[in-house]
Symmetry: C2
Subunit: 409 residues, 2 copies
C-alpha cells in the first residue's frame, strides 16, 4: 500500500508538472503578445487606408501584413508544440477551445486583407474583424491567467492580461480616432464610444498596477513621454468635440496615428518586460519546487532504510524524530497548498468582471439570437441609457435571465 | 500544422478525461463517507467508555473498531488505485497532500485505540484525535468539490461535502453531549461550545439544501423521525442547562447517545443517496460528452475527405456550408465553456467561508507558533468575545496579518 509520504512526493511532482506547463504557457503568452501588437498596427493602418479611400498608408499596410504573417507562423508553431494529449493537458478544455476560435479567425485573415485592398469594407467593419481576432488572442491569455495554479504566476499573468487588454483598448482608440480624423466627422454615439474606450483603458491599467511587480511598475512609469501624452489629450479633445458638419484637416489623421503609435510602442516595451519577467518567474518556481522535492526524497530514502532495519510486522518503523519530521512536512505542505488556493481565489476575483460581461453576452446570444457584436452593443447601450457600468448591467442581465429560466423550469 | 478543429476535438477529449477523473473521485468520496460514519460511531463509543471509566460500551467500542478497520482497508485500497503519475493527475497537488495527511493520521489509529483501552486519555483528548482524522477525510471531499471542473458535479460535491460536514458536527455533538451526561457536569465555555456545534450543523445543512437536487431533498425531508428530533431538542435543553454541582443520572448518557445515533443513522441514508446520485451524474456526463465527441469527429472526417478532394495549396478546402458548421461548433463550445467557468465560480464561492477560516488558522499556526487546535480555539474565543461569526473573525485576522506582513516587508 502507498504511504502518506509517497502521496506527499506525488503531490510535489504534480506541482512541478503544473509549473512546467505554466512555463510553456508563459512562452505562448509572449508570442501572442507580439502577434497582438502586429495586428493592432495592421488594424490602424487598414483603417486609414479605408477611410482615405486608399490614398494614405497603402504601402505601409502591405508591409505590416507581411510582418503579421511572420509572427502568425510563430504562433501556429507554438500552438503545434502544445501537448494536446488529453491525459497530459491541464485545463485543456478551455484553453484548446479558445485556440480553436483563434485558428479559425486566423484562417479568415487572407480573405479580410483581400477585401481591404479592394476597398470592399467600411473602416468599422475592418476594425471589427481585426478586433474579434485580437479578442480571441487575449482570451487565450485570460484563460492562462484564470487557470494558473501558482498565485505569483497568476498575479503576473493577470498583470500581463490587463496590460494587453488596456493596450488593445488604446489600439482600438487609435483606429477609431484615425477614422474620425480621416473622415472629419463624429456623431453622439461615436463620442460615447470614444469615451468608453478611454475609460476601459484606464480600468485595465488600474488592475495592471495592482498586480504588477515593482520592476515592471518602474518601467511603466518611465516608458511614457509626457509630451506625447499631452499631445494625445489635446487631439482627444479636438477629435471628440467634432460634431456634425464641421470638417477638419484630414492630415490630422496622420498626427493622431503617430501620436497613438508612439504611446502604444512605448507600451510594447513594458509588455516585453512583463513577458520576460513571467518567463523568469516560471523558471525560478520550477527550480525551487525541484529542490524541495529532492529534500523530501532524501527523507524518504532515510525512512525506507530505517524500515528495512526494523523487525518485520512492526507497524511504526521510524524513530520519534523522523516520525515528527514527516508529520511536519505533511502538515506544512497541506497548509501551504491551502494558503495558495485562497490566494489564487483572490487574484482570480480580479478577472470576474470580464467573466460576468462575457457570460451576459453569451446569454443574450443564445436567448435572443444576437451576434456577438450585437450582444455587446446591446449591453453597452443599456449601460449608456442607465448610466451604469458595463459589468453592473451584465450582472443584472444574468440575474434576470436566471430568474426567468428558473420560473420557466 | 494543427487545425482549429483538431484543437476543438482535443478540448472535448480533455473534458472527457476530466470527467473520468471526477468519476474516480466520486467513488473515493463514497468510501470516505463510509469510513467517516464508522469513525464517528467509534468516537462516540470511545467517549462514553472513557467518561464512564470503562463501565459502559467497552465491548461495543471494540466491535466498532473492527468495523472501522475493514472500511479503512477499503479506503487505502481506493487511494492505491488513484493515478498518482504527475502527468495524469489533475489538481493532484492539493488532493494528494490531503491524502498524505489522512494516511498519516490512519497510521496513528492503533496507538490511539491502545491508549483508550488503557484509559490513558481524557474524553476530550480522544474526541480531538478522532475529529482531526475525520477533518482530514472531509478535507479530501472538500478538495474534490473545489476542483471539480463540471458545475453540476461540483454542485453535487458541494452538497455532499456540506452534508458530511453537518453530520460531522452532529457527531461531535453526540460525543460532546455523551461526555457531559456521563460526567453529569458542564461549564460555561462548554455550553458555548455545544451552542456552536448546533449552529455549525445548521449552517452546513442550509448550504446542502441550496445545492442538493430534488430527489435528495425529498429523501432528506422524509428521513428524520419527528419524535427523535423532539427527544433530541429536549435532551439538548436538559444537558446544556446543567451547571456547576447539579448531578444527573448517568444513564441519560445512553438515552442521549441512542437518540443522536438514530438521527445520524438516518442522515447516513441521505448521504448514501448523495453518493449514488453523484456516481450516476458522473456516468451520465461522460456518456453525453462522448456522444458529442463522436459528432465532432464525424464532422472532422467529412472535412478531411473534402480536403483530399481539393486542389493542393488551396487555403480553404471546405464549402461555405461546412465552413459555417465548424464556426458554429467552435463558437458554441467556447461559449459553453465560458458559462461553465462562471457557474463554477459561483458554486465554489459557497466554499469560501471554510477557506477563510482554514487560512486564518494556518496564519495563526505559522506566525504565533500555535497548534491547529489552539489556533482554532483562539479564533472561536475571539468570535465569542466579539459576538461575531467565526468566518468574520477569520477574515479580520487575515486582513490584519496581511497589513502587518506588508508593513514589515
Amino acid at each position: 500500500m502507498k504511504s502518506g509520504l509517497s502521496f506527499l512526493v506525488a503531490a510535489r511532482q504534480c506541482e512541478i508538472a503544473e509549473l512546467e506547463q505554466l512555463a510553456q504557457t508563459g512562452e505562448l503568452v509572449g508570442v501572442l503578445s507580439r502577434l497582438t501588437h502586429a495586428l493592432q498596427r495592421e488594424r490602424g493602418l487598414s483603417n486609414v487606408v479605408l477611410a482615405s479611400r486608399g490614398e494614405r498608408f497603402a504601402h505601409q499596410r502591405l508591409r505590416q501584413a507581411d510582418a503579421c504573417l511572420q509572427v502568425e507562423q510563430e504562433v501556429r508553431g507554438t500552438f503545434d508544440q502544445l501537448d494536446t494529449d488529453a491525459n497530459g493537458a491541464r485545463n485543456g478544455a478551455r484553453l484548446f477551445s479558445r485556440i480553436a476560435v483563434v485558428l479559425h479567425a486566423l484562417d479568415d485573415l487572407p480573405d479580410l486583407r483581400k477585401r481591404i485592398a479592394a476597398q470592399a469594407l467600411t473602416p468599422q467593419e475592418a476594425t471589427e474583424a481585426f478586433s474579434r481576432l485580437i479578442a480571441g488572442l487575449l482570451s487565450v491569455v485570460f484563460e492562462a491567467a484564470d487557470t494558473a495554479t501558482d498565485p505569483e504566476i497568476s498575479r503576473a499573468l493577470v498583470a500581463m492580461f490587463n496590460f494587453m487588454q488596456g493596450k488593445e483598448f488604446a489600439g482600438q482608440e487609435r483606429a477609431f480616432g484615425a477614422a474620425v480624423f480621416a473622415s472629419g466627422h463624429i456623431d453622439a454615439p461615436g463620442q460615447h464610444q470614444w469615451h468608453d474606450l478611454i475609460e476601459s483603458q484606464e480600468g485595465c491599467f488600474r488592475i495592471f498596477r495592482d498586480f504588477a511587480n515593482a520592476a515592471v511598475l518602474g518601467a511603466e512609469r518611465s516608458s511614457q513621454d509626457p509630451g506625447v501624452l499631452a499631445d494625445l489629450e489635446k487631439l482627444r479633445r479636438v477629435g471628440s468635440a467634432l460634431l456634425g458638419e464641421v470638417r477638419l484637416d484630414p492630415s490630422l489623421s496622420q498626427v493622431w496615428y503617430d501620436c497613438c503609435t508612439h504611446r502604444i510602442d512605448a507600451m510594447k516595451t513594458v509588455e516585453d518586460l512583463l513577458s520576460t519577467e513571467l518567463r523568469r518567474l516560471c523558471g525560478r518556481k520550477i527550480t525551487d519546487a525541484r529542490a524541495q522535492l529532492r529534500d523530501q526524497q532524501a527523507v524518504l530514502a532515510t525512512l525506507t532504510h530505517a524500515a528495512t532495519l526494523a523487525a518485520p510486522g512492526v507497524p511504526a518503523p521510524y524513530g520519534p524524530h523522523l516520525e515528527r519530521s514527516i508529520l511536519d512536512m505533511v502538515q506544512e505542505q497541506s497548509r501551504r497548498l491551502q494558503a495558495i488556493s485562497s490566494e489564487l481565489d483572490t487574484v482570480r476575483a480580479s478577472l470576474n468582471e470580464r467573466k460576468v460581461v462575457e457570460r451576459a453576452k453569451g446569454l443574450l446570444m443564445a436567448h435572443r439570437q444576437l451576434s456577438e457584436e450585437d450582444a455587446y452593443r446591446t449591453l453597452r447601450q443599456m449601460a449608456m441609457n442607465q448610466n451604469r457600468k458595463l459589468s453592473e448591467v451584465a450582472a443584472s442581465v444574468l440575474a434576470i435571465e436566471h430568474a426567468l429560466s428558473n420560473s420557466a423550469a
